[in-house]
Point group: C2
Chain length 379, copies 2
């Protein structure tokens, strides 16, 4: 179980298969986010039809509501949300540290107040693993401390805790049917990132998550970290870039050896009335191209969101209809835009995989980045 087979490389880009108790994940892969045990605005059969193979759920949210022990009694997360494919749960670390004034960290763990009712709770590495064992995902991750990417002193102290907690998570883990991923931290600092990769790989995990990115640093800084980590992480384990990103981030990440991604961007953007185009934004470097369907210019537009897109939304509905749904605040607008945005992200991942297997990854990288460079590797 949890064998990762590296099937092909193309430059630094990798195509592989990762075996889990609920099926095989073919990488590169994008994982839709189901924070509260539902990928917002779509059903499990929609996800299946879209070709999603693995979804993410959030430990922090499910611990608070409906409760991990309740989910365990109801047969675990797969049965609860009726998703029989692989699931990954995060550790709750990112959410807890995002609570800012509502949490207090010490070397043993974090005490925090619920965003729902203000009640006080405490996560330790052992507790984060216990919750994730109750939830029962195929892939669980170590409890870590997320620091602002550019504060060296903070990152040094946080990294010490993250490493100590990784050892404790490893010791606390008891279920053989769950893969445990370590999380590499260290902000934008090469020495810390290297130290983190060396320490975690010395412990040995089923896979390696890369945390603390896409939280304010520049794209160049993110890419530099990925380039640094690529040779430091074992080739025979999957690498998961947490909370990233746009179609452009995906191809840039894969170009630097990443296998797995998750992000709320496609689903959140959909609920805000926007559709991803798959192209970079023309006038906003680093931002994904998007159509804001609230814009009056779409009111009479009979065309699809994206010409040539094969998703249900683009093959059946006009921009004019989607504009109407968004303006009228109809749930179907959220649903159809979510289908399109997820289809696009899953398509980017699938196209990269096919291209890597055929040795033409650069082609896909160029299409989504809009770059005319001969390769992402500067050669």
């Amino acid at each position: 179980m949890f064998e990762f087979e590296l099937q092909a490389t193309d430059g630094r880009a990798r195509a592989g298969t990762f075996h889990t108790p609920h099926g095989t994940v073919r990488t590169p892969v994008f994982m839709p986010v189901g924070t509260q045990a539902t990928v917002k605005a779509v059903s499990p059969r929609d996800l299946h039809d879209l070709g999603a193979s693995v979804v993410l759920a959030n430990t922090y949210h499910l611990y608070l509501r409906p409760g991990d022990e309740r989910i365990a009694r109801l047969g675990g997360l797969h049965a609860f949300m009726a998703w029989d494919g692989p699931i990954l749960t995060d550790s709750g670390g990112f959410q807890v540290f995002s609570l800012a004034a509502r949490r207090k960290v010490d070397d043993d763990g974090v005490t925090f107040r619920s965003h729902i009712d203000g009640s006080e709770h405490r996560f330790t590495p052992e507790k984060a693993i216990a919750i994730q064992e109750n939830l029962g995902a195929d892939i669980i991750v170590c409890f870590d401390e997320c620091a602002p990417p550019d504060d060296y002193a903070y990152n040094t102290a946080a990294l010490a805790r993250t490493h100590a907690w990784a050892e404790r998570c490893r010791a606390a883990k008891s279920r053989p049917d769950q893969a445990l991923f370590g999380i590499v931290q260290g902000g934008v600092f090469p020495d810390l990132r290297e130290q983190s990769a060396r320490f975690l790989t010395s412990l040995g995990f089923d896979g390696y998550a890369i945390g603390g990115l896409s939280v304010g640093e520049t794209k160049a800084e993110m890419h530099a970290v990925l380039e640094l980590l690529d040779p430091l992480l074992p080739p025979d384990r999957p690498r998961y870039l947490m909370g990233v990103g746009t179609p452009q981030d995906l191809v840039e990440g894969v170009a630097r050896g990443v296998d797995m991604f998750d992000c709320v961007l496609p689903t959140r953007m959909a609920r805000n009335g926007s559709a991803l185009t798959g192209r970079p934004a023309p006038d906003e470097p680093g931002r994904p191209g998007r159509l804001n369907l609230r814009n009056a210019r779409f009111a009479d537009d009979p065309g699809p969101l994206v010409e040539g897109c094969t998703c249900y939304t683009c093959t059946h509905f006009s921009r004019a209809y989607l504009h109407h749904l968004v303006k009228a605040n109809e749930i179907l607008g959220h649903h159809l835009l979510t289908l399109h945005n997820l289809h696009l992200m899953l398509t980017v991942a699938r196209e990269m995989r096919e291209a890597i297997l055929e040795g033409r990854f650069v082609e896909v990288w160029r299409r989504y980045t809009g770059s005319s460079s001969s390769s992402p590797w500067g050669d």
Copy 2:
């Protein structure tokens, strides 16, 4: 076109087929309501999977937003909402008269203010037909005045207008690919209802809608009106009971000669977090049985909404999961409850049809009303 074939009767209950340019409607039929050119929280492919054959859309809402002329330019309502089955549009009368203080009626029409932006508009019979011709539904209905059911003087005056407007609608109608239904009004008053049925059938319409019911009168009063109208309406035309109702209302309506129904109840109830059970409410006479999924007693309930229900929701998800979705205000909760409630209403209609064709309608009537009477006809 628009031929209604009466295939079987069982007591007063009727099974028939109604032919339209976008397909054949098999009656008795329940029509999901797509007020703003979307049945809330489900997609056209969901409706198709549910076995919905015809949907309703609201003239008043679509006239205001996105505008009937815009929909005409975009190819009509079928193309706009990507529903290639039959569509029925109401006349806007009910909505306009529901605006209460925001509208003013005269013999020529109604002036009203938009609920969206307060702008002033005017509907006349000719305008209501012109809008419905722009929308392009298969079945359109006459512009009528809806009066409170128990005010005789008001109903007398309103009926005179409704009849005059029915003649004007008939004269204004120009599209041969649309069926026009007259609307029988007259509140709870037998003489007015009889007068209305006689007048409208003398004009001759493709079908007859029964308006002004389920607006405050008792069930017994509604049933008495239907029993009065059954022999007065031509057997070779469909009868459509507007805005009704619950599973129990459907079987009681069919038991009194009605063929078509529409109601927001199943979709609205779903968005309020409630599921129809199909049974009458145990302690609330005249109300449909329902489960309020917000109720904490469902938090640990692993069972389906309704034991034995074959809908996607009941075959995949527990009451505990639906409770969680509703509490967490997740769109998937609205979606899954809508699927269940629509499935139930469509199943009631389909079971009635099958039973009428096999001469055992009373069986179905007993199951949904919970009655132990030998028949709904008192014999």
